[in-house]
């Protein structure tokens, strides 16, 4: 397999101006300048093989969008190596961007007052797409994304879901080898989200387009990505298969017990009691430290049990815990 993205020791630091506070602040600000160094991306390494579909996750301000900006050539790295598709993105901007596609959920690349189809036509000229290929691609995406009903409608009158579909189509008309999706499902309803996920999977599988996806919607990740990368405070804290993420961080299972009698106190060694009321207790335990049978045995030795169940950790809670507690 061929690597399409090479990133090594990538760093991006910013000088952030610090302002004086207090009564003479505005005067001091005029005279002296103080700045603080922020390491938005602090030495990350990864490669992405051609045809992969990778989820890139991390809390707000972790360095996600700085990375994407460097990968798309909008930002020059402070140090490190970055080669995408054989290009150094920021160096040869025009040739590089002709071969990638980018979709930002929060804003549109289309022309606000133009019918959708005319925006596509403009893209044909901007990207110099041969007419035959343009027509073939448009027909295919039209089928998959059901664009036909609103091709003649000005972008300003589209619903968010329609606009997103049109934007995705526009980003793909020139057959990019690599696609960046930034929050492609943000603000959409369940049906629209599903349609977009299916389409992303389709182009990844059928056209073998490499996809890098950033999202806050864990369902996107679960439905689409085998591999995820998590960035936090500028460092890559996880890079691997989604399944392994659970093993590594999602150690906490939950045991829910309904007791036959009322006990004043139901603590057991090896598990954390999360709540206890109406004869029901919820424990949290780490399977690497205590197995489920051992815990159940420990509980049942001391108390009379009417019913019990075990909950697997889910990815959403796992990732939320990573974000909230910043485990590493």
């Amino acid at each position: 397999m061929l690597s399409i993205v090479h990133v090594s020791k990538l760093e991006k630091t910013f000088h952030v101006r610090r302002y004086h506070q207090g009564r003479w602040a505005s005067l001091q600000n005029l005279v002296t300048r103080r700045s603080r160094l922020i390491r938005a991306v602090d030495g990350i390494d990864f490669t992405i093989e051609a045809g992969e579909l990778v989820g890139y996750l991390g809390p707000n301000g972790a360095g996600k969008s700085t990375t994407i900006k460097m990968l798309t050539g909008l930002l020059v790295p402070s140090s490190g190596r970055l080669i995408v598709n054989g290009f150094v993105p920021w160096k040869d901007r025009r040739h590089y961007v002709a071969r990638i596609g980018a979709v930002f959920g929060q804003r549109t690349t289309l022309w606000w007052d133009l019918p959708v189809i005319e925006s596509f036509e403009l893209h044909r000229h901007l990207y110099q797409i041969p007419t035959g290929r343009f027509k073939r691609n448009l027909a295919e995406f039209n089928d998959l994304l059901e664009l036909a009903p609103f091709l003649d409608v000005p972008v300003r009158s589209l619903s968010l879901g329609q606009r997103m579909r049109a934007d995705i189509c526009a980003a793909l008309l020139h057959d990019p080898e690599l696609l960046f999706f930034d929050e492609p499902t943000i603000g959409l309803d369940v049906v629209a989200k599903e349609r977009i996920r299916n389409f992303i999977r389709h182009i990844n599988e059928e056209r073998e387009t490499t996809v890098l996806l950033t999202t806050h919607d864990i369902a996107d990740v679960q439905r689409l990505c085998r591999r995820v990368m998590i960035i936090d405070r500028g460092k890559l804290i996880f890079d691997g298969e989604l399944a392994r993420l659970l093993e590594r961080f999602g150690g906490h299972h939950r045991l829910i017990v309904d007791f036959a009698e009322s006990y004043a106190e139901v603590a057991v060694i090896g598990a954390e009691l999360l709540s206890y009321s109406d004869q029901r207790a919820i424990y949290r335990f780490d399977r690497r430290k205590i197995t489920a049978p051992a815990l159940i045995q420990a509980v049942s030795e001391r108390y009379a049990i009417r019913d019990l169940s075990i909950e697997e950790p889910d990815i959403e809670t796992t990732i939320r815990t990573i974000y909230e507690k910043r485990l590493l």
Partner: protein, 269 residues
Amino acid sequence: MRQAFDIYRRLLGVQIRSQLQYRVSFSFDLFSAILVTATEFAALALVFERFEQIGGWTLGEVAFLFGLLEISFGIMDMVFGGFDPQDFGASVRHGSFDQIMLRPAHLLTQVLGSQFALRRLGRIVFGAGVLLFAVTVTQLDWTLAKVLYLPLVVTGMVLFFGGLYIVGSTITFWTVESIEAINILTYGGSYLISYPMHIYQNWLRRIFTYLVPAIFLNYYPVLYFLDKPDPFGFPAFAPFLSPLVGVASFVAALAFWRFGVKHYQSTGS
């Protein structure tokens, strides 16, 4: 180059079609653009009944300066609308400029093609009317050289003020707080050179001769068109510097723009 031109033409088409979709508000804008310029000129013309001259110039002679400036600034504002510092600053903050950088076409082409304010036609047409009035009442002697030079003077001013727009926009890569400073030069500068330069205090005129060579853009060419003597004793080629000043400041502005884009790429603003 040919591709850049083709893209520019298509982007312009988009702008024009978009604006014509809103017919009512477009006509209102066009009308009020005429009115703004007309009001300013009317205020001057009406007090001329009483004063009869300004710094020794007649209304027709001042109208020549005024009309030429209005035509040029109107064309500039229409063509370089994408570089209006206020709007460009907003497009950088809202990420629209990033979208432009993600497209495989020249940045300049795309920014120029991102805005084409047709309503400025109002200002251009009114300016042309004032110029026509000036030509009629001053009864100037047309020579072939003057006819050929007139469009070059307009070009010079379009490039000069277009360059100022670009510089102002480039500054927004660093800060949006200082746009007003460049506005003094664009709006203040254009107001300044629509009156005869000899009415200003010496220090002010010197700034706009040596530091910002705006005196050569409009005043000196009009001295030549009206066959008026040069009160400051510059060499005889002074009236013909206008296109040169325009081109030179435009080239400098482009260099600054490129520097600004590089800075933007390394800081993300």
